[in-house]
Symmetry: C2
Subunit: 115 residues, 2 copies
């Protein structure tokens, strides 16, 4: 099954999880395409200064794969800077937040799988 870029559902989420500004989410896969064990496979784009606020994942894990830009990432209480190619994995029971800490768009792939 082919899902062309121009057919993918785009959502703009304001103050996502209590963050700043907006996040554009492009849905790569629908929740029902995860064999029942996932719910999200999206490309996210955050303009400079935008962020997703801190939140927990319980009964599921979320993985961010940075494609472009510079992120400030809170990894369950430990802050770090992420660049293109880096991966941030948040297992069940942990929390995270992410912000665009650079001058260009921050682009990443996000995946949520669950048990």
């Amino acid at each position: 099954m082919i899902i062309r870029k121009e057919e993918q559902k785009i959502t703009v989420n304001e103050q996502m999880r209590g963050g700043e500004g907006s996040v554009q989410l492009r849905q790569l896969l629908a929740p029902e395409q995860f064999c029942g064990h996932g719910r999200l496979f999206n490309q996210l784009e955050l303009a400079p200064g935008c962020s997703i606020g801190s939140h927990y994942h319980n009964g599921e894990s979320e993985t961010f794969y940075i494609l472009q830009g510079t992120a400030r990432f809170d990894d369950n209480g430990q802050e770090c800077i992420l660049h293109a190619g880096d991966v941030a994995h948040t297992p069940s029971g942990h929390f995270h937040s992410i912000a665009n800490a650079g001058q260009e768009p921050l682009v990443l792939v996000a995946m949520i799988v669950n048990s």
Copy 2:
């Protein structure tokens, strides 16, 4: 948990699934990080002319997200051309193959989740 680009495991697979040339796989997530319901989250790179041969997925689905380049994709018997931003989803019981059909590297993210 942060997995830096330079720490990610790189494998080069020759004649992958009976395909041409080689495929470079960069492991973004280890199989044990899928809550027990997945086994692969990799970035793949195929030089011009390289391919992954035709194969089935049973009891799992594989999704390709094209980041760069041009692919010739066999979607369970139907051939098409994929560009950056396109998604190819192969559910359980279907087969696929993919080839770099362009003059630049073909780069994609591959994800396998299972039931």
